[in-house]
Amino acid sequence: MRTRWMFVGLLCAAMSTSACGVTLRAQEGFARVDDDHYDRRVASADGVVVGVRVMRNRPEASADFWIRAVDERLRARGYEPDGDPMATQTAAGMRGVQLRYVQSVGGRPHRYWATVFVRPGGFLRPSKVYVVEAGGDAETFDRAAPHVQRTIASLEP
């Protein structure tokens, strides 16, 4: 009986980990505002939002592939690149690439960052793609940019 409950508990933990396998710490001035589309999402009072999606690496591809796929998709939707892709690294040591864009929303320029990480698979651990999105009105986003960077850097699988 006890063993059974232990097994169930472990199973629940494993399921929760696989379903919610990411940590994104809200910085000062940000609050957590999860929803069904993001695994984690935080937002500031003046509209700067940072959210992360975690997907299985399917079709399995390299980080370079997913970075290009994200860039192609955003450009196709009219997002204007704002600088060259930048290599980035989280506090936990995950290496990724940050893509920056500018998009007009309601006649106002908005910043949009997409930071892509690919964690390779391992024993009983599938490869995953982490996409951290950050965006907001350019005026407020630029002020909150350091907090946004620290939020992204806080990502932990």
Binding site: Y38, L74, V105
Partner: protein, 287 residues
């Protein structure tokens, strides 16, 4: 002879002269004149000029330019005499028509060649014994001996693209012949008036005759001038050339080719399509 006798005679004489001048084609004088051939026409005009005035070059050619061509005045290049009967009954060659030839050309050449083409037209005319009448930046008029009119026209046509061509021949034979006959008649009238003047018995008579003599002399001068003019025009044909620029072909500007955007491959990955500010900033949870 007194005034009463002179004046009526004078009136009759003048009236007869006027009638004879108006009926020149049927007059005795017209029939008596041997129909001149091509050479004779010029000689007749020249004699009409030389008789009354000091010999003057006809036409008034510019210095260094040849005067009336020594060749035939006919412009057709070959005179075809028609028969007419002299008083002796023999058939004499009829007068060749007196034709004034004019040619007008519009040529299309490159604008930078205008000067060269105009120079060439003038050079061609001068080579054939012609001379310059007028010239400006885009047109030129030259006169060439009528005998060389056709070859001059051919030379002009080879100078550029012919846009318009107008060659005309004006027959002034009848006018010239009429003027000749009237001139003869007026000379006869003048001769009689001079005789009347010598016989005038009084100053009044003399003045009357003098006035008439003056009128007849003026008419003679006018006719001679007209004949000189016609002879000159017949002897030298006018060629007018106007140049038009060849339109410059401007290469059509290369319009910037609009390259359609590159086709984006729609990967069958749902989350790729969900990226963006729309969903990220939708904090209310509404889709």
């Amino acid at each position: 002879m007194n005034t009463r006798q002179i004046v009526p005679r004078l009136v009759v004489a003048v009236g007869l002269s006027a009638a004879l001048s108006a009926c020149a084609s049927g007059s005795h004088y017209a029939r008596a004149m041997a129909p001149p051939g091509p050479m004779r026409l010029e000689q007749a005009a020249g004699s009409a000029v030389a008789e009354e005035t000091a010999p003057a070059p006809a036409p008034a050619a510019p210095p260094g330019q040849p005067g009336i061509a020594a060749g035939p005045a006919t412009n057709t290049g070959a005179s075809t005499p028609s028969a007419s009967t002299t008083p002796s009954g023999e058939t004499a060659p009829a007068a060749a028509p007196m034709l004034i030839y004019t040619a007008e050309f519009a040529l299309r050449v490159e604008r930078e060649r205008f000067g060269d083409v105009l120079d060439r037209v003038l050079a061609n005319a001068r080579e054939r014994g012609g001379y310059l009448v007028s010239r400006n930046d885009t047109s030129i008029q030259v006169r060439v001996p009528s005998a060389r009119f056709h070859e001059s026209v051919t030379a002009v046509e080879g100078s550029g693209e012919v846009l318009r061509r107008n060659v005309a021949a004006s027959d002034v034979s009848e006018e010239f012949h009429d003027a000749e006959v009237r001139l003869q008649n007026l000379r006869a009238v003048r001769q009689r008036l001079e005789e009347f003047l010598r016989r005038a018995g009084s100053m009044a008579e003399a003045l009357q005759v003098e006035r008439e003599l003056e009128r007849v002399t003026a008419e003679i001068d006018r006719l001679q001038g007209r004949m000189r003019f016609l002879s000159a025009r017949v002897a030298f044909s006018l060629i007018s050339v106007a140049l038009e620029p060849r339109p410059t072909v401007i290469a059509a500007p290369r319009t910037q080719e609009v390259v359609p955007p590159r086709r984006v491959l729609n990967l069958p990955v749902r989350w790729l399509h969900e990226l963006g500010l729309d969903r990220l900033l939708n904090l209310s949870g509404e889709d």
